[in-house]
């Protein structure tokens, strides 16, 4: 479907004269660096002045310089035909893809776009895509873009956006040069003065000139005698009083041509004046200004006579802009309002922008991290909680993808918080991870503080940064509408970005009261796994570890006894153990199975009461890594009667 390039049409065979010098220079530039100099290049001229020659020469030269370039030459009609064929075959997309990979697209005779609205839209789309990809477009027409009738304004501006250059009719000298070269190519020799005579007659274009040359060549071939100037004149029907006639023609021509000549002159001067580096800087200014950056630095360059290294300056500017972009993106994570500051749009104030970013960074504390005191290694594993532990390991392996969200449910004290923090610690080990792990109460408190201080954006940004969010005791959001709203948004964000969410709750999410349907259904959407009451195996490990921590010598009988005690949670088991250790310390005797039996089975009612009545969920984990257990801190409640009187007083 594409016409192949005519090998005869190269720059070497193109005769350059004053009328086409600019066009040839531009064409050469384009062939040497497609896509970077003038894009698109729009060449216009009357018929037969070398548009197609020049267009093919660009293709040939570009291909010669870089053989892997994908060069396409075709006339607009061919393009239209190909498009219609592709549409008819239902391959419109394939057609578009094919042209979007062309490196140098040469389209001849675009004036035929007149009234072809569909094609105009197609070409607009194509040229946008090609230009965006830095691919070269060269177009020719017999008139300027503005003069093509019914051409879409956007196409006009696009065509005019690169370089619009015309090829004028060749002057006398060029005509002589063309005739000589063509005669030489054909191996024809003429008497002196013949070609000059022909050139002196005015021909509208080169094609006509070639026709005349052909006649001369043919005539000379059939006649033995070589043609002289006078004979040529007669043959071609040029008036014998040519010299006088020419003068008349010349003077007639000069007057309407005066403006055209002037225009050509100005074009050359402007071409020289608007040097390439200026154009590049101007382009850069346009680009960055369009993106909202200050370009004073580049503008200052334009005022210089010859800047030392304009390209480096542009590159440096682009580099600074890139840095600003990074800073802006970073800052907007912490504080979208701060990112709107003008410093992030002015490469001259890069240093200020860096400072501002540092300030924002310092101000944005990372979200609360999991407690270092609750590592995975300290989590007692037994057959009862094996499933939950396995699930946790899988999440650590592939956070965000396998079970998201993951909800641990179970009674108080079975190790949910421990497992949550342990999981958080493992997740935090991964490079680039920011793990937010905290109790839901702390989460709510922070939110309230942020609301109070009008720092909601800051608060949100703080959590949006996190790569995993782990909330302990999620049921506490019950009735907290605002928290549920914020959590809902975070929830969606995290799931969209495949970031891990982990929660703990005392019971299955669907049984929790006061939680909006949209949240509870999302909690169920991942995996809900139960941590059951510790089995004997777990209890043994817990007791052994706890006793070890208290420096109690290893005593199998004691361990067995404690592990066999009925305890519905790890916490209550630790409670039993503490009582035994406490009693041993009080009586100043070593901890033993006997003492334990005495304390736990023969104790007073008041003492027994200590082990029951835990009301709060228990472990309060601070991000600093310490563990505070409310039960451990408030061991003795004293007699309720005393407390009542105390309060009544």
């Amino acid at each position: 479907m594409t016409t192949s390039l005519n090998p005869k049409f190269t720059f070497d065979t193109f005769v350059v004269g004053a009328a086409n010098r600019l066009a040839v220079t531009a064409a050469r530039t384009v062939a040497e660096s497609p896509g970077s100099a003038y894009n698109p290049l729009f060449i216009y001229s009357g018929s037969g002045l070398g548009k197609t020659h020049l267009l093919m020469a660009i293709g040939a030269a570009a291909k010669k310089l870089a053989s892997d370039l994908n060069v396409e030459y075709l006339t607009l009609d061919e393009y239209v035909e190909a498009f219609h064929a592709a549409i008819a075959a239902g391959q419109g997309d394939a057609f578009r893809r094919r042209f979007q990979t062309v490196d140098v697209l040469l389209i001849d005779d675009v004036q035929f776009l007149t009234n072809r609205l569909e094609m105009q839209a197609e070409l607009l789309r194509l040229s946008e895509a090609l230009q965006a990809a830095g691919r070269q477009i060269v177009l020719t027409s017999d008139r300027t873009p503005v003069d093509i009738e019914n051409l879409d304004e956007r196409l006009i501006s696009r065509f005019s956006g690169g370089l619009v250059v015309d090829i004028g009719a060749p002057d006398y000298e060029t005509r002589v040069a063309i005739l000589r070269r063509k005669a030489e190519e054909r191996g024809a020799e003429f008497q002196p003065g013949v070609l000059e005579t022909v050139a002196a007659a005015s021909f509208a274009n080169v094609r006509e000139l070639m026709g005349v040359l052909n006649r001369l060549v043919a005539y000379q071939a059939v006649n033995d005698s070589p043609l002289n100037a006078e004979g040529a004149k007669q043959l071609l029907g040029i008036e014998t009083r040519a010299s006088g006639g020419h003068a008349a023609v010349a003077s007639e021509r000069t007057s309407p041509d005066e403006f055209a000549a002037f225009l050509t002159d100005v074009t050359t001067t402007v071409g020289k004046a608007v040097e390439a580096w200026r154009a590049r800087i101007a382009e850069a200014i346009l680009r960055w200004e369009g993106e909202g950056y200050r370009t004073r630095r580049l503008e200052a360059l334009l005022e210089q006579e010859t800047p030392i290294a304009p390209d480096e300056e542009i590159a440096a500017f682009a580099h600074d802009v890139e840095r600003l972009r990074v800073l802006e993106a970073e800052v907007s994570q912490f504080d979208p309002q701060a990112a709107g500051q003008s410093v992030f749009r002015d490469p001259e104030r890069l240093a200020e922008a860096e400072e501002a970013a540092t300030r924002v960074r310092a101000g944005a504390a990372p979200p609360p991290a999991p407690s270092a005191a609750l590592p995975f290694s300290l989590f007692a594993v037994g057959s009862s909680n094996q499933l939950a532990v396995n699930v946790a390991r899988e999440v650590i392996e592939e956070p965000g993808r396998r079970y998201n969200p993951l909800v641990f449910i179970g009674k108080s004290g079975v190790g949910k918080s421990h497992l949550l923090n342990a999981l958080g610690l493992e997740l935090a080990r991964q490079p680039g991870a920011v793990v937010a792990c905290l109790s839901t109460q702390a989460f709510i408190d922070e939110l309230i503080t942020a609301l109070d201080g009008n720092r909601m954006e800051w608060w949100r940004a703080r959590y949006r940064r996190a790569t995993a969010l782990l909330l302990d005791d999620i049921h506490l959001i019950s009735g907290k509408d605002r928290t549920q709203e914020e959590l809902f948004n975070l929830f969606n964000l995290f799931q969209d970005l495949e970031r891990q969410l982990v929660f703990t709750a005392p019971a299955h999410p669907k049984t929790l009261q006061g939680i909006e349907q949209r949240i509870s259904s999302r909690l169920e959407g991942g995996l809900v796994v139960e941590l059951p009451e510790p089995d004997r195996e777990v209890r043994r490990v817990v007791v052994q570890r706890a006793l070890g921590a208290q420096d109690v010598p290893d005593d199998p009988a004691l361990i067995d006894y404690l592990a066999d005690r009925p305890a519905d949670s790890v916490r209550s088991l630790i409670g039993l153990l503490q009582r035994v250790v406490g009693a041993a310390a009080a009586q100043d005797v070593p901890v033993s199975a006997g003492l334990a039996r005495e304390v736990l089975e023969g104790g007073t009612a008041a003492e027994r009461r200590r082990t029951v009545g835990f009301r709060t969920s228990g472990i309060v984990v601070s991000s600093a890594g310490g563990v505070r257990s409310r039960e451990k801190i408030v061991w003795d409640w004293g007699a309720p009667a005393d407390r009542l009187i105390e309060e009544l007083r």
């Binding site: 005066e258 100005v266 608007v274």
Partner: protein, 199 residues
């Protein structure tokens, strides 16, 4: 005013035809007007008295179309030549990118030429412009008059062209030398642009 605006991709040149009264400034503009294709030229504004003397100024906008991707426009102005319209002259000179000084070649007009040239210098100074930095071309008009009435270009060069700027003999009525002068001043103006003096 901005001669070259890289942002909007525009080149705008303001060229002022200066010179003594009746030297042929308006004639220059009329000739150019007649040669510019209709689509390229704006309406020529001429404020003249009934005796065809320029009272205020002439203004001829020319649109050169896209050149090197720049929308290029020329604005040609003339000033009233008569001595008593100096305020108008200064006003028109404001923001000029180049000046064509149209001198009357008649020998008896030499003093008027000199006076007008001095007036140009003074007016530019008033606008804080050094005449040496302003692109300037000279045109010796009315060279078609009988030889005995006029001074030759060489003599006029001696008398007027002490800065050795480009000068052109002309016959504005018939168009000789008109476009040569315009080309010359355009080149000077645009060359200044090349030197980065985008004022």
């Amino acid at each position: 005013m901005s001669l070259v605006n890289f942002t909007t991709r525009e080149i705008t040149c303001k060229i002022v035809y200066y010179g003594p009264g009746r030297s042929g400034k308006t004639t220059n503009l009329h000739y150019i007007y007649g040669r510019v294709p209709e689509s390229r030229r704006g309406r020529m504004v001429s404020l003249a008295t009934q005796t065809d003397r320029t009272l205020f100024f002439d203004f001829l906008p020319i649109d050169l179309g896209q050149i090197s991707g720049f929308t290029t426009r020329f604005q040609l102005y003339t000033v009233p030549g008569q001595v008593y319209y100096n305020a108008t002259r200064r006003l028109v000179l404001q923001g000029a990118d180049g000046v064509v000084f149209v001198a009357d070649s008649q020998a008896r007009q030499l003093d008027e030429n000199l006076e007008s040239l001095q007036n140009l210098q003074a007016n530019l100074l008033d606008l804080s412009i050094d005449i040496r930095t302003m692109p300037l071309s000279l045109q010796y008009n009315k060279q078609d008059l009988p030889r005995e009435l006029i001074l030759q270009p060489v003599e006029l060069d001696d008398a007027l062209n002490f800065r050795n700027v480009p000068s052109f003999p002309a016959d504005a009525l018939h168009g000789n030398g008109v476009f040569e002068t315009l080309k010359s001043i355009t080149e000077l103006v645009l060359r200044r642009l090349a030197q980065g003096a985008a004022v």
